[in-house]
């Protein structure tokens, strides 16, 4: 290896290898993804963000929120559950079938339908049991369950996938979780006022929180007793005697947080859909 030219060609070959394998191949596979039309609602997914939320994405990037918060839900796998969707009218017969399948508490399940009867099954086991229970008016269905600590913690109902990030720039996946995952912040139904208060003083909404306060995203003004507060001011209890109003940056940031939602059911990442009473009634009607 004393030949400089040969050495150079070897190095050049390695550059080329990494280009083909880790830049070009992924680009071909996922770089040209397009929004899809959801089967359930007919909407395109993902939908572009509103202008304010898009500005908020810039605030999120500029504050470096990604240093502590991830935006990806991981799923360790799936298994299947059997749900009793409708117990029909022949209850004794159903109870007997359930006894034969060694399902305890049959009576309780029958009165509570729709209810989960069994969990942690493979597709084959679950559909076998469900077909035996489906008899006459009694209906049992197989329901997919997503697994993993992230999902158990309520950070999302399914793993996040390529499709979820189509309109993000920069994509802020994050590599450290000192704060909770935010990929589904918008689905948590946190009121905007509470989210703003959390930004201003995290410990006031979550006493043990380690999050640094973002007071510089707010205006603070001394206020006399009885003086009228601005409409968007934080609750008077946050800092008595002062009126704390969010800057446009803070409001944009919260709008962005509210827009974080990766809960649409996709072909590659279905969301568990257990049967509900009303949904069962509708398709059951035209059957005969």
């Amino acid at each position: 290896m004393n030949n400089g030219l040969l050495l150079f060609f070897g190095i050049f070959l390695s550059l080329g290898g990494s280009f083909w394998a880790l830049l070009l191949a992924p680009q071909v596979q996922i770089g040209r993804a397009q929004p899809v039309v959801l089967e359930t609602t007919g909407e395109t997914y993902p939908a572009p963000r509103s202008g304010l939320a898009q500005q908020g994405a810039d605030i999120y990037r500029a504050q470096g929120c990604v240093e502590c918060h991830s935006q990806q839900v991981r799923q360790s796998g799936v298994n299947f559950e059997v749900w009793l969707a409708d117990s029909g009218s022949a209850w004794p017969q159903l109870a007997a079938t359930m006894d034969r399948l060694k399902i305890s508490d049959a009576d309780k399940f029958i009165t509570q339908a729709p209810v989960k009867i069994l969990g942690g099954l493979t597709m084959l086991e679950a559909s076998g049991i469900a077909s035996q229970l489906t008899n006459g008016e009694a209906k049992a269905s197989v329901v997919l369950a997503t697994l993993g600590p992230d999902i158990q913690r309520g950070w999302g109902k399914r793993a996040t996938v390529t499709q979820d990030y189509l309109y993000d720039n920069p994509v802020q996946l994050g590599s450290l979780r000192i704060g909770p995952d935010l990929s589904n912040y918008g689905t948590r139904a946190v009121p905007a006022a509470l989210a703003l208060q959390h930004l201003y003083s995290p410990q006031s909404t979550m006493p043990k929180s380690m999050m640094p306060p973002y007071r510089y995203l707010f205006n603070k003004r001394q206020i006399a007793e009885g003086q009228k507060r601005a409409a968007n001011a934080l609750p008077a209890t946050v800092e008595p005697g002062y009126e704390i109003t969010p800057t446009p940056e803070a409001e944009a940031l919260v709008a962005y947080l509210m827009s974080l939602n990766a809960s649409a059911s996709l072909a590659e990442a279905p969301v568990p859909a257990p049967p509900v009473k009303s949904a069962i009634a509708a398709p059951a009607a035209p059957a005969p």
Partner: protein, 503 residues
């Protein structure tokens, strides 16, 4: 003769045994050709390191106490952490690494530094770019991509500056007068081409003309992985491959083994960056390729370690037997080599999907990065600096005990930082994987370990300040005769200019 420390100039320069001074530039001439460009690179590199460590210290304190310095947007945690990383990566590791690379190329090729002025121009441009970049990150103009946070214009400046460095490095290699190409030169040449490739490709695809969606995450992972594996690691390895045989007074055990390790690193190592995406929103084959690559890379790590071990073992029979006890440079290099081995094993472990499902998203990843940046690359670079700087200026280090203290501080600092965050990270990951532990308890549980790492950062800082003060004293001793000469020319008062300084 007790083995003289290689931090001083007494060590015989001919011990490499390949230098025939007649036809080549003499070692002193070669060192002199490197003097000014390298002193500039090293000085600013050290200052960046100190700044980066101070920022890291502030960030570490903020992880205990969120309220600390919270009212200044410039000092918010999410800006300080990337600013600190960028200062260390581009200000210190890359800059000092380039300096060391230039020197090694000169020494190994027995040739003077090519293109000295462009290197100085590049130094100005590089430091201007890093300055603007770090300020921009603190001002909130970050791009949001890990280790590539500096804004678009700065990326262009850095690239141009690097091009000048790279031209000098490759030209020095091309003009070499030694027919044998030493392993260190392979690594340096590879680094010289890999850095511009990954930096320009990642900057273009992420910042200039961004690709869409999750592909950004895979390119970002490709860049961060390769910045370590094929830019900083080759420079560190070049240092180890040069100094280990040289200071232990033995030829390298096996050139073939070194060549094997080199090609494995080059062709396999570059696929290892996507382990952060295990279970993430990209096609499964991508992180799987990285897992395989990191495990294969272990072969290169072990073959290198074996090579060094055999080299050192051979020296046990010679007068260099206890060299590492007296030789500060060798101590730094040894520590770096050991950290390289440990990092290789840990990186392979942490890319296993079962392990990664615990360690990803935890401080364990931070610990691994610190181990490679401060433990391996940082320590090797400091070893190189302790050897190179006295030879550039022909002045000995003013304080040998300060060097020993620096080593001790750095070594303990790296251990506290890596072990503290590593153990804390694994515990954090185990708790994260158990959904019955409330998230708040998971985060609170990391605090004592962050405390250990803060202590580690503090020790690193003390070590760096010891280096800095020693370095400044050395520079003063170096500059004094010149200042005197200038004074005596200008006003004829040179003999009394600084009475009593040199007693």
């Amino acid at each position: 003769m007790s083995a003289p420390s290689s931090t001083s100039l007494q060590e015989t320069e001919a011990s490499g045994g390949v230098c025939n001074a007649d036809e080549h530039d003499s070692v002193a001439e070669i060192d002199a050709s490197c003097r000014w460009p390298l002193l500039l690179l090293f000085t600013s590199g050290i200052l960046w390191l100190v700044l980066g460590t101070v920022l890291a210290l502030i960030a570490a304190i903020k992880l205990h106490k969120g309220d600390f310095l919270a009212d200044t947007s410039w000092l918010t945690l999410g800006r300080i952490r990337p600013a600190s990383m960028n200062a260390v990566l581009y200000g210190f590791s890359s800059q000092v690494g380039i300096g060391v690379a230039l020197w090694l190329m000169c020494r190994l090729g027995h040739v003077k530094l090519a293109f000295q002025w462009p290197v100085i121009v590049a130094w100005k441009l590089w430091n201007a770019a890093v300055t603007i970049g770090v300020v921009a990150i603190l001002a909130g103009a970050t791009t949001g991509f890990e280790w590539l946070e500096m804004p678009r214009g700065v990326a262009g400046m850095l690239f141009v500056a690097y091009a000048l460095f790279g031209i000098s490095l490759v030209a020095t290699f091309a003009m070499r007068r030694e027919s044998e190409v030493f392993p260190s030169q392979w690594y340096l040449l590879a680094a010289a081409f890999w850095f511009p490739w990954i930096y320009s490709a990642a900057s273009y695809l992420l910042i200039v003309d961004p690709v869409r969606g999750a592909l950004q995450a895979s390119i970002s992972g490709w860049f961060t992985g390769n910045l370590v594996t094929l830019w900083l690691t080759p420079i560190g390895l070049a240092g180890i491959f040069y100094f280990l045989p040289r200071l232990s007074g033995q030829p390298l055990h096996s050139r073939e083994l070194a060549s094997f390790g080199f090609w494995v690193l080059l062709f396999v190592g570059n696929f290892g960056g996507l382990t952060g995406l295990i279970g993430g929103p990209v096609p499964k084959w991508m992180p799987a390729v990285s897992t395989a690559a990191n495990v294969c890379l272990l072969v290169a790590v072990i073959s290198n370690a074996w090579n060094w071990r055999e080299t050192c073992r051979a020296s046990c029979t010679t007068s260099h037997r206890n060299a590492w006890k007296t030789d500060s440079v060798l101590r730094f290099i040894f520590f770096g080599a050991f950290a390289y081995l440990v990092h290789g094993v840990i990186a392979a472990l942490m890319s296993m999907p079962t392990v990664a499902s615990v360690t990803n998203f935890t401080y364990a990843v931070v610990a691994r990065n610190n181990l490679v940046l401060h433990g391996f690359v940082g320590m090797v670079l400091f070893g190189c600096l302790y050897y190179i700087i006295p030879r550039l200026v022909q002045v000995n280090w003013p304080s040998e005990s300060s060097i020993r203290a620096h080593f001790l501080c750095s070594a303990i600092g790296v251990l506290l930082l890596s072990l503290g965050l590593g153990i804390g990270g694994v515990l954090q990951g185990l708790k994260l994987a158990n959904a019955s532990v409330p998230f708040m308890d998971v985060v609170r549980g990391t605090v004592p370990f962050v405390g250990l790492s803060t202590l580690g950062v503090l020790l690193l800082l003390i070590g760096q300040l010891l280096f800095l003060s020693n370095y400044l004293k050395l520079l003063r001793a170096f500059a004094e005769p010149m200042v005197r000469a200038v004074c005596s020319v200008c006003c004829g008062c040179g003999s009394t200019a600084k009475p009593g300084v040199r007693s």
